[in-house]
């Protein structure tokens, strides 16, 4: 149980930290290879781009858990802080529907690319492994959205917004 809880809290974190660290290392290596070793790398740019794709979609999942995706809260600000929770639920359900649609649409696309066997020009990576970031990342995000919805329905707190910020959005102050 302890292990499961650790994975629940940290799974995306470690992947993302590792990807970001690799991005910096790869690109720094690219500059070093070009200037100090005099032989430019051919694979670095491509690998970095594909890592960025994965980083984005896994990051969306963590952002759902932490309530960090960017939304425009003009309406709840106008209506009042009590509407905040209702809007948050609408936003979560809307996000969940979007994730489900994207998983639904991206699986056939990924399979088609795998069937054609398209590979990347520099490294010869199977391109479906890049496109697989969409169903994997957003599938994870879907689970995270459902997790937050269930938590909130059971009376738990919304992720993100600390108490002070909610006060700052008080409608009288606008």
């Amino acid at each position: 149980m302890k292990i499961l809880r650790f994975i629940e809290a940290n799974f995306e974190r470690y992947i993302l930290a590792a990807i970001l660290f690799s991005l910096v290392t790869i690109l720094a290596a690219q500059v070093v290879a070009r200037y100090l070793l005099g032989s430019p790398l051919v694979w670095s740019e491509e690998l970095a781009r594909y890592l960025l794709v994965w980083c984005t979609f896994i990051g969306v999942s963590l952002a759902v858990r932490e309530g960090r995706n960017i939304s425009v809260d003009l309406l709840p600000t106008l209506i009042g802080p009590r509407s905040m929770k209702a809007f948050a639920m609408v936003a979560l359900v809307g996000s969940a529907i979007f994730f489900a649609l994207m998983v639904w649409y991206s699986v056939p696309l990924t399979r088609r690319i795998a069937r054609i066997g398209q590979t990347s020009p520099g490294l010869g990576i199977q391109m479906w492994t890049v496109y697989a970031a969409v169903p994997v990342g957003l599938g994870l995000a879907l689970l995270r959205a459902l997790q937050v919805i269930v938590t909130v329905l059971r009376g738990g707190n919304l992720p993100g917004t600390p108490v002070e910020e909610r006060e700052a959005l008080d409608p009288i102050e606008m």
Binding site: R13, L16, A17, I19, L20, F21, L23, V24, L27, A28, Q30, V31, Y35, E45, A48, R49, Y50, L52, V53, C55, T56, F57, I58, G59, V60, L62, A63, E66, R68, N69, I70, S71, V72, D73, L74, L75, P76, T77, F87, V90, A91, G94, S95, F98, F99, L101, M102, Y105, S106, P108, L109, V130, A133, V134, E164, A168, L169, D170, E173, M174
Partner: protein
């Protein structure tokens, strides 16, 4: 027709607080559901293709660099250097705060991050020396816009991607406009200092410029190295961002010893949480932009405007008003991605350079960071100082007016933007 539905749908879904990125995605899918010749597989492909971009890689890396340099004590040293230079003038500390935003903007590409980094240091200090809290908070809220006007700049990278313009050239083009706008805000701080100098104490002269230069040397090298390297063509903006990360990590861990390995893990995760929401907006926004282009929206608007307006100055004024309005209510990056492919083809026949237009757009949307109702800087500043949003807005009237003056310069004096990049060609 499909396009109008898509845009209305986007605004509706966004209004009920569904995250901007997914609202853009829904809008990109809608025409396909309604029978337009676009399909969902193509939409997924557009999102991935947009993210699979080398210039875009600069976004996460510059954010990471900014985070490392803030946590590692480089931001603090930039501020103390600025104070050593400008502290001697009336209103000196307020002028230094603006200058610190300029300097920090040169290692960070984000406006709210600039407010957070400089504001949390400068505002308490300003207040302790007798400056009005509302003035101090509003000044930093406005000066934070310099974070995206001074290169490197996340909005410039996104614009470069949307407009197919060199990000390096955009960065270089931003230098003079940033100095002009920073100068206006510093002049305001000086005038305020003269007017209220009876209440303000100062410790000018306590640290000499030479001494401050010595202690903050490693922090000052960062922006020079990054911008100099891009300007000289030694590396691309993306490579510069990676080098800034390595440099920042080295200086804060080895030279300043303010950051340990354990802190680094926190910095990486924190950065990932900041960048993923931004990048996914870039992806789904590009997908919507592509759908709108397929539906020939830019051509339709171009024909409409071309028939109605024949004067370049008037057209630029109109574009500014649209962008200011959009900047006040819309999220910046999605605004850039959706509007660039629509507006750029409209302006091109009037001889507006894409670089110049990019600068106009960035300044407009930067002002949107500091204006209600959707001004992130205001909320960040309010979080730091516990001052209510409406109080900050009252204090913002003059600083925003000055930003608008800067915008007029940038719009009607193209040379401010185009002169430096033209030297490099």
């Amino acid at each position: 027709m499909y396009a109008i539905f898509a845009l209305i749908f986007f605004l509706l879904v966004m209004a009920i607080t569904v995250p901007v990125a997914f609202s853009l995605g829904f809008a990109a899918l809608l025409p396909g559901w309604m029978g337009a010749p676009t399909n969902p597989g193509q939409m997924v492909r557009s999102v991935v293709t947009a993210l699979d971009s080398f210039p875009l890689l600069a976004v996460p890396l510059f954010i990471l660099a900014g985070e490392i340099m803030t946590q590692g004590g480089l931001a603090r040293r930039l501020f103390s250097f600025a104070d050593a230079v400008f502290g001697r003038f009336k209103g000196g500390l307020a002028m230094s705060s603006v200058a610190a935003c300029l300097l920090f903007g040169a290692i960070s590409g984000s406006s709210p991050a600039t407010v957070a980094a400089i504001g949390s240091m400068a505002v308490p200090l300003l207040v302790s020396r007798g400056y009005d809290l509302r003035f101090s908070t509003a000044l930093i809220t406005a000066a934070g816009t310099l974070g995206v006007i001074v290169p490197p700049s996340i909005p410039m990278i996104i614009y470069g991607m949307a407009a197919q313009v060199s990000v390096g050239a955009l960065f270089i083009g931003g230098i003079i406009p940033a100095i002009v706008i920073g100068g206006l805000l510093m002049a305001y701080a000086h005038v305020y200092g003269r007017k209220h100098h009876a209440n303000i104490t100062s410790d000018a002269g306590s640290v000499s410029v030479a001494r401050a230069f010595k202690t903050s040397f490693w922090a000052l090298v960062a922006p020079i190295f990054v911008l100099g390297g891009i300007y000289a063509g030694a590396f691309t903006p993306t490579e510069a961002a990676a080098i800034a990360c390595v440099y920042g990590a080295f200086v804060s861990m080895v030279i300043f010893r303010e950051l340990g390995l354990r802190d680094m893990m926190g910095v990486l995760v924190n950065t990932a949480l900041t960048i993923a929401p931004i990048l996914i907006i870039a992806g789904t926004g590009a997908a919507l932009g592509r759908v709108l282009t397929l539906l020939q929206v830019p051509a339709a608007i171009g024909a409409f405007v071309g028939g109605a307006i024949d004067e370049r100055l008037v057209l630029l004024l109109l574009v500014n008003l649209i962008l200011l309005g959009v900047g006040m209510v819309m999220e910046t990056l999605s605004a850039i991605i959706v509007l660039t492919p629509i507006l750029l083809p409209v302006l091109a026949p009037y001889g507006v350079d894409p670089l110049h237009f990019g600068m106009i757009m960035v300044v407009n949307l930067a002002i949107g960071f500091a204006t209600p109702p959707v001004g992130v800087n205001i909320y960040v500043a309010s979080g730091i100082t516990k001052l209510s949003v409406i109080q900050i807005c009252r204090g913002l009237v003059v600083p925003i007016a000055l930003l608008l003056v800067g915008l007029v310069f940038v719009t009607y004096v193209p040379a401010l933007t185009l002169w430096l990049p033209s030297l490099n060609r």
